[in-house]
Assembly symmetry: C5
Homo-oligomer: 367 residues x 5
């Protein structure tokens, strides 16, 4: 492309906005820069501390108190809600001895899903997807999971999440989760994230089926627009979800001491689900492309129908009008005009012609 | 996407239903939750117990009696029909010492085909596809096969299945199946499932050929709709069938002691068939895409024909009507009107024009 | 899909035939079931028995006599024509000690190309493709080649084949084929099959070029239909041909004692050809898709031309007819009607308008 | 293709220009030939020489003075701006002992991104992409990075670049970059290049969104043209960017002594970004294809609307005109003409017909 | 497909020519059969014999004299122009001890690019592509390169070639080529072939850009045809060029003693170029597909414009003509006809209607 010649009148066709990335450009790697939506607001820290017998719940506690109590006999789930306060995140990072690159990815909401294994911890970034109850839109929330020796740190953007089920299983003393370590908790959270993808798939599936009906019933321009929006959402959801498959597969093959063999059996289940999700997304993509095709074919059909009506009306009445025009001429010598039955005969001829044309169109199956 | 701005009037374009997955969300992994169609109804247990000489058949027996008789000298085929009774499945699982994840996949009818090897048994999930005799639709039935030491457990959703041929071969004393172990029975069932995919392919092939004829003969909107349905079915069938290829290939390479070398020779045959099936599905997919293309080209052809009729009729009669209009004017001084042969001359001129236009359209090959 | 709700009026859109696979369903694997076209008819057995000096030819001999003479000093080519007599095939199989699965694939004309290596022999299934001289259609004939120690068995469906060249080279005493063993004969037959694929490609190429000309010259609906048929044939030919590449490649890498190192050099040539054939088929596929595109663009062009004629005719004569209509009105007070030059002036005005419109359409480059 | 027959009138369809490559043809490999845009002009040499404590800046210095001072205690960043002076580049190459092939690729602005490892240095070619502030076009600038023992050579085409952030970090004494070696500088420059790709992606994204709005609002021919330009730019940007992923990945796996283990951790971050960039480009490609599809569907919609207006107007007024034509006929015996209420009755009939047709079109939902 | 039923009237749609391959069918492998264009004509032999100090040039010499002088102290480049004389080629082959399969591929102009390593020599087949100066068409010339111990044999179809640069470098005593062995000459010839592909790419690029302009300016049917021709040429060029990448890559990895380590460094440069060429071809392919799309969208635009003109003309004048028709009726009692200002009022009404319709179409932005 190089420095192309300027074309005139481009102003209308090209947008003139500032890049949202500009704030990040030129900073050193490892700089913690929040790139998400919910700016401002303090982070909330909630903690579950449990083993087979005991459960301590600390709501809206401080990070200092979390760092203070290093109870080795407990599994601790530290849930940090709100990641826009960069200074706070850096403090947490320092407290747990995390690499600056980990913190950068924790707050960078544009980060694609990844799992990085460090010597002392495993760091994962995922996208929680869920349907917003009110707007019925897909919400994509950035979440970072860090598995330390006997703790799991969770960084989430918003208070809404998909972990309600895990919380209630932790609260329930007899659940399997209470008798297992931090790696099982890490798995349980990942499982909750992946399981919720099925809800999003179901949502997409319903929209596809709904649009299918609309395409057959009433293919308006809005339907075409909605199909395109759907296609874009499938693309984006695929982008958020599809890396999970490979990440989990690599985690299963990994020999990191923090992941026990027992937990790997369960991870295989997550892998299974993510394979299934990828396949579904592939099918949805093909189905949304088919939708557009169907839309175009329906448009073409409708056009055909319109043309047929025009052609039939014009083809029948233009010849008849011509005949009427003939006998509206003012020549002095037009014998037919003076025949006694000239007028009825003209009618008769026109009716015959009318019928002949009807039969012709009937034969062509246009009627 | 994030939390997108709400768009107005979306209600019509977006469906408002509840997710069918919601019942499963938040449960611990390994929870046995039936997700199929036939809810309610007790499970039926049928048992074949045989070796080269003896065959015992127990119809509608109980699982307790099956568990009681651990005859090592027999190969036992335990057929469990109906998997909606979760408590019963858990009981079976406990009786045979199966992993909870196995049971979860056994009743999860959304589970994609898989083969998992455990130390003491091999667990496989497949989709039985067959054509419903009455509705001529493709039925997809979830089936789980478990190969234990000298038993094969079969969990199937409905009473209909594709195992009639295997049953009759078991009943026939001289058949090869009677002299071989449980792994051959496992193979025979898998072979029956895969063989029946050919019937489904044949069904799809016939529908493609039928639609091809319809597209040429009478491309209505219904035909386009049927093509789209076909495309979707091919997609779905492919999803159910395509994993089998890799699964069987992995089974052949596996070193699990339950699969004997002899049986692997036969599994290679199944692999061959599943490769062929995948290739056919790929071709059907391309053919169904061609169908739509052909449909669109036919629509375009038809439109062309309609337009030609309109153009010919209008182009011929509009000029003629104009001439008639000329001599219908009421000017005082129009010499032609008073000529003796004015009227026939006008006719003559119009006929000449008519013929000239006919020749013109003939030359353009529109007639 | 599951058991979908029945849709009404489906009868017309769905075919109601019986599956051709039904005869095979439920049979044990290894059952020899002919699935080809030429049912009935006895098999013919022709034999060449040769070494560097001697050639014995036995036409329409019996299989018993072939089995009797186990002359180790000769290379023997046993050609069995007609594979519909299942009992006979089983007898041959038993005579040469072949696996039942080999026999099943030998007569299963739906079997895709494959090469299976057994301890004592190599078994290959291929598709002979040739152009039927009379109908100019591509004929696909199922052929099975079995390489034993010093024999090659050939099972072919019909009497027509592509081995004429090999036969004449065998008859010619000085040919290289006479001084080499059975593996060279096996290669020579395979080479003959693959070489003939070029003839089929050439046939397809000519049809593509012919259709290209037709698309430009006269894009009728039949041409579109022929393009679709071509696309389907390319798909099918690809399916029959494309596996050969990998099979030959595996044969070259194989360490089976029956294939000598010298023969492998020649097999590399066959590999080269099959790579080239696959590439050609890929190009033909893209070219046939382009053909359809070109067809659609021509249709669109034609439509445009039709619309232009209509628009020009209507746009010129409808205004003129309106003017004539004006002076056909019967108002008492229409001064123009009584002007001396009213009529010529009307004509003049109409001619001016006619010229103005002609110039307008000329400027638009529609004329 | 071979030597095809000459076709007439091809002159208009085929361009008749000279190839820009002709200057390079026939030269020996390793010949330094500049192929860029900014011919003429001397090269500028700027140098940063620093360690943790000291920073020397030499602007517009000579290459001789750079070669003279081989201070091992410093990290040296030699920035050479302008690569059109081939003799100068050869001099630099000789001074630092670079392979002629390296120099050829340094000035060959058509060279695709690559990293070559030599014994004493690592040579990389990349494309700096940035948005020109004035024209809002994407600028692609060729840049070569050479990592020597404690120096980094940068060859850039133009004075504009994306290294402003790196320069200010070098100037800032406390930055991490000052305390690390040349390999970190090499990484930092590469990171700056890749980070700026996000700005370009953002630019593309905004153009896609802007075009999306235009397609819905006002799908003119210019919009279609702009979509095609966008598609081409996405293709070209992908070509410049996509190889980076594999290059960085190979650099991480390399065991070249010049790249320290610490720096590899940071390179992994660059790898992450380049994966994300590739995914985005893939999505942009699909979105730009969807744009064209949407454009076509909107065109089709508009056509439909035009046709409906024509059909409604023609279908209503042609029959009415026919009726008026009937009573404009001049037959002597037309009883209706003499009825007292003939004229109002005719009007009445015409109004009724008008209403009936309106209802008909209303029912068809064309109004 | 099998033996399909004959369809009637196929004659017109199917070509009836003889295959060009028929001459080769049935021949033994290794048979030397020329399949190119320039049949007849003797082969010309030109020889360069050089070392660092001496250069002997023999033009139009005989093969016998070449074979006679086996000067080990020289590097010899034997250039054989014209490969249609099969006997001559066999003689050359025997003289240099080449395998019959090598000779077969040397003269088989349909052979795709390949490199085969034999014990004593390396054999390569490539396609020289260049633009014919006169017809501006791409010429594809078959060339075979054989690297022997200190000789390079070149077999080329025609006298035109792309080796002019190499020849002049050989003639120039001080060039690097003179001081290096036969393997460098082999590389230099290969490099010349690949470098010339850039000229062909440039040619294709210019045609694409030219067609782009034409598509926007004047999308005639010829332009669509030219786009299709371009697409086909891109496909074919890709087929000739794309294998080179893998061949060179394998040559670099090969351990054949004839290729020195120094030469491999240069081969890596050729590899780089062939990767770049493949990428360009991929982009050209996508661009040519975009061209067709753009063409269709322009056609659609044009159609829209035509339809608008028709609709506007018809919608304005058909209602006006109806009004004129009304007052052309001959009812006895039509009060308006007798009003003093009836005629101007009718005109006034018609003008109002005309303006109203103009405003309507203006609002719809059709004007």
């Amino acid at each position: 492309m190089g420095r192309p010649k300027k074309r005139k009148g481009l102003g209308k066709l090209r947008p003139q906005r500032k890049s949202k990335f500009e704030g990040k450009m030129g900073k050193a790697p490892g700089t913690v820069t929040y790139m998400g939506r919910r700016e401002g607001g303090e982070s909330i820290v909630n903690v579950f501390e449990y083993n087979g017998e005991v459960l301590h719940t600390y709501e809206r506690t401080t990070i200092e108190s979390v760092l203070a109590q290093k109870g080795d006999s407990y599994t601790t789930w530290v849930d940090i809600i709100g990641i826009s306060d960069e200074a706070f995140i850096e403090q947490v990072g320092k407290g747990f001895g995390l690499n600056p690159l980990v913190l950068e990815d924790t707050v960078n909401t544009h980060q694609r899903p990844k799992i990085d294994e460090y010597e002392d911890y495993i760091f994962g970034v995922f996208k929680m997807l869920y349907i917003d109850g009110e707007s019925q839109e897909i919400v994509c929330e950035h979440v970072a999971l860090i598995l330390l020796d006997n703790r799991v740190l969770v960084f989430q953007e918003l208070e809404d999440d998909v972990f309600a089920g895990v919380r209630s299983r932790v609260r329930n003393k007899s659940g399997r989760i209470r008798s297992r370590g931090a790696d099982y908790l890490f798995f349980a959270l990942l499982d909750a994230i992946v399981d919720n993808y099925f809800v999003v798939l179901e949502h997409l599936n319903e929209r596809i089926e709904h649009l299918e009906e609309l395409v057959y019933a009433n293919p308006t321009n809005e339907v075409a627009q909605e199909i395109q929006i759907l296609k874009k959402e499938v693309l984006k959801v695929r982008r958020w979800i599809s890396p999970v498959r490979e990440l989990v597969s690599r985690l299963i093959d990994s020999e990191h001491p923090l992941i026990s063999k027992d937990t790997k059996v369960f991870l295989r289940d997550v892998l299974d689900h993510s394979i299934e999700i990828n396949e579904s997304l592939q099918i949805y993509r093909e189905m949304s492309m088919s939708l557009m095709e169907m839309y175009m074919s329906n448009m073409s059909n409708k056009m055909n129908e319109v043309m047929k009506v025009l052609t039939i009306m014009a083809s029948i009445f233009i010849p008849l009008t011509f005949i009427a025009g003939i006998y509206g001429m003012n020549f002095d010598h037009m014998p037919e005009l003076h025949w006694k039955y000239g007028y009825p005969m003209a009618w008769g001829f026109m009716i015959l012609l009318f019928i002949a044309l009807l039969i012709y169109f009937k034969r062509k199956k246009w009627l």
